[in-house]
Symmetry: D2
Subunit: 333 residues, 4 copies
């Protein structure tokens, strides 16, 4: 599978490295609006930096990997569909749910694999938890709790174009809830600005709790903070009728130091690159599986729409101070 | 300090044992509507089973410990105030918030120690967490999460007279939130019947999530279930500006078994008697401290009213499907 | 069962409290060469301080609990046998193995329960490990490792009369090995003075490793240090044919603090009073069981002889720099 | 740095992959007595399978990586020295200490980096423990304990040519002790055949404990077993004057399952490939550092000799049933 990469920034570099870990896929081209970034990544991988038009026109290129800025995702998906390429797209489809629903329609007729980059589904810990849950190890799931704290907030300049915490950060946790429990019926959002007043001044929250209600009475809780000084705190816990499953943090090393000051273990790994590096690689192989072996993609455009619908509902819920229903109008299904 | 015990049931027995652990207090009498229960406990402790009237009339008795059924609490507090005794009362003051507010007024003029039995405040783990939080170990608290699952649901007959999950079970967690974060401003309740359909048929929930909002933006989340087959799951976690504090479960023993089936540790201790036995004893000593040394009681009638007000707000929130404000009308302050 | 206590020092007080926890036993008298100590303990428990002669002559006293200094143990056991009392004796029987072997003979003809205070056998963690091992949870035991560090060394004045590390401190670990694996065949001792040069000047070691070899090829390793600044380090680990059992330390509380400095848990509980308080109580009940119900004592005089024989062998091994065999001459069996 | 690989077996493949992870090194050739193995590895990496003579004669090849069978190591090192190549050699140098001492002399005059593949030194956990120890985090080290169990024994055919447990398996643990505590003065070995009687019939042990004594009184203990059904058990623990450092196992994932059967965590990762994959890569980069930047090699030929000398001493100790001194004759220093 010959792959062209859109976006040579931080996450683009991660994906470029992941593509190399699967012998069935080859990175053959890269493009970026910042041509220096594209050139640097191209040099590093011994490939060509090319224009987007050129890439879409090149029929030898089988797949595109969209890791460019969020506002370009929807357009690139459309172009990818038109030029008949397999498409892997970083989350989110778009900041606008309406636009995402349009993409959803376009995607319906595309016969190549299309996959959303919900990397956490491929984290070995969360995947093991999901497998145990599906296996009935704890009976039927009842209460789900997702904890997701970033080590430190991004610059406010980023916050301003991010679409807000629910769409930018919690979207991963919405997807985790859908991954484990399916699509909820109601969304109740709480949010505060406790970490950085400038984030509040920009109209966003940096600390948030969302409760998702399911048709059958199951309840999921998501906690987010833009700051956890001890590192990336990424945990999932499910209470079921027969027990609890909890996926704990990965830590920097296994050394434990006991002195008069206490018993000290290593911190969680610092951020998403450290925590999810393996997940990016496994995720990519799942996309190659879909292309090469025709397997279903494990994170579809519909999953991308669903997560965005939940973020949209959370925004409305926060604004209106009441639970908001997730309608079929919002998800297209 | 000479003490008379009201109630010779399960929790009465626990308190009778706790009284013995403090050399400054003496259990001298017990009463119970079931005279056999009173007689048995009296025999075990080499004391007298007496009538309530007798106890209130006996001026040599310094204090009463109310561990009888919930519907008797308020009346016994009133009688205790009238007969000028120090009063230790199991939660809740009453199932009715109005009645609790009346008691609150009566208590205001009483000059003997009055204390509510919020035993979890005295659990060494939660107390250590509270001390670290107050000490600024994690900066300013921001997100609080209380997990509280019982090992198995009580009989439905109990559920029917319990006042419902929020007043009967979550009241402890409401108090834990007040203990750690103070009185919240809003209550948003979610609840389902997932454990036992008969509980639902009785009009109650057995699985619940409540989110508390604070004036300054802090947020607390409580998760309750009437069933955790692995034992009593009692955890508290606080994210602050500089880190996280988590009080984990106490486990049956420290043995870890590693075989081809996995690495198996002991379960959490089974239920409240196992988990909070030490807490009951420490709690009692705090009451004796208040009586003997004039120290402030660490869990006041106001704390009892506050917890009940939050339960009331949760009931309304669940019924109306929206957040409910905690007003001064509800707490008396 | 009416009990007289010999020794009103630190461990005597612990036993006095334990006697109270079993309703079937009554502490009725105490004696101590320091009469002030005996008086104080007597007052605290509302009993009489009496002379040793008086106690032995009093036929209403069923049992004696020997918690006086080591050099008095053997003589008190002999007197206890003569006056036909049940006997509970703190470890060791005597510092001299020869003397212990004499006591062993005298004990053989005594028809009242005689029990050695090997308290660690009754620690719930080690008892659970033993139960799992005996239950075959890890198949057949192969490698045993006992870690036993005191938080801080005793005064050198104590060291000088202690009989040395192997007889004073490691004797508990020798008994733990016998408890779990039975009596070994060979003892190889290593020892150093690393903690306090004065201990070395007194002719003793403060850091030691002993390896025990068993007839069937099993091997046990004991590590001792007189200093572990983080608290009492008391662990046992067994590798068997199907897995490993490990009894870990008990810790002060379950609070975990995560900050930029790391993830900090509580230390192990400080010393033997904190760690083994429950064990002392369970141990006592086992002795009462033997007296009241005729059950076998779970730690016999033979167990006391065996531990002493291993200590003796360790001393010889250290002196001669070679493994020493444990002969039937040394254990009497 | 252009590298030729000797040995295309299991460990050869691991090293071939590691070479790729450092952009400064290129695998250019492979050789193996089994030409099919060499061809397969060559094809996979797009390189040539060549003869050993050819490789030594090729002056464009900078370094050789010796991952062939143990009996070829010494000869290949000699040839590598003659042809002036940097040399990375898997442990051990040779099964014969005499031969290793010859190689040591030859190595002395070689001015290219020579490094022994003691991979565990590069495990991030052990490296972090070493860094903390050297940093004085626990004061001065006193007691070292290395636990090292394989998940399952190798075939007896392997055992027969392995040189025995001390040289084949415990050599890594001897090196770990040298890495952390330096070269010991005495070796006392214990060993049994408990896992597989055929191993005993072949004259070897499968279960072993070795105690190392240091000049200054420090003591190290190594425990080995050829079988741990729960996976590769690789732990190191050091007691120092101010506390303890422990490097615990790495586990398969972080999921914890709590049910009525207990609290189950994932097992340690299965074997050395899983546990030390990162270590192999870090190790290789250290060798490239030595070649490219002239840094000292972190595991020298002398380290290889030392480990072998300790194994030799252990063999003698086991045979003679007494501690054996490590002399300068044995280590060459």
């Amino acid at each position: 599978m010959k792959v062209a990469l859109f976006g040579a920034g931080r996450i683009g570099k991660v994906h470029a490295a992941s593509i190399k870990t699967d012998p069935r896929s080859d990175l053959v081209a890269v493009t970026d609006v910042v041509s220096e970034a594209a050139d640097a990544l191209a040099r590093e991988h011994g490939i060509e930096a090319r224009s987007a038009e050129d890439i879409f026109a090149d029929r030898s290129i089988d797949a595109i990997l969209i890791a460019s800025s969020t506002d370009t995702h929807a357009g690139l998906i459309e172009a990818g569909v038109r030029s008949n390429k397999a498409i892997f797209c970083e989350k989110p489809i778009d900041l606008s749910l309406e636009r995402a629903l349009e993409i959803r329609k376009i995607a319906a007729s595309h016969d190549k694999p299309m996959m959303m980059g919900f990397n956490r589904r491929f984290d070995p810990n969360f995947a093991a938890l999901k497998a145990a849950l599906d296996n009935g190890d704890i009976g039927k799931g009842e209460l789900l709790a997702v904890t997701s704290y970033d080590p430190a907030p991004p610059p406010v300049s980023y916050i301003k174009v991010s679409g807000g915490l629910y769409r930018d950060m919690m979207i991963h946790d919405f997807d985790m809830c859908s991954f484990l429990f399916g699509l909820p019926k109601t969304v109740m959002a709480h949010g505060s600005c406790l970490v950085d007043p400038e984030i509040g001044a920009a109209g966003d929250v940096d600390t948030a709790v969302v409760v998702l209600g399911y048709d059958d009475g199951r309840i999921a809780t998501i906690r987010n903070s833009r700051r956890a000084p001890y590192g990336y705190d990424q945990r999932v816990e499910v209470l079921g009728s027969k027990g609890t499953l909890a996926a704990e943090n990965e830590i920097e090393n296994t050394v434990v130091k006991s002195t008069s000051a206490g018993v000290v273990s290593a911190k969680p790994v610092y951020f998403f690159l450290e925590r999810y590096m393996r997940a990016y690689s496994i995720e990519w192989s799942a996309f190659v599986d879909a292309f090469v072996e025709g397997k279903p993609v494990p994170a579809s455009i519909q999953d991308g729409v669903n997560a965005l619908a939940l973020a949209e509902a959370a925004n409305r819920s926060l604004a209106e101070g009441r639970p908001v229903e997730v309608t079929s109008e919002m998800t297209g299904v």
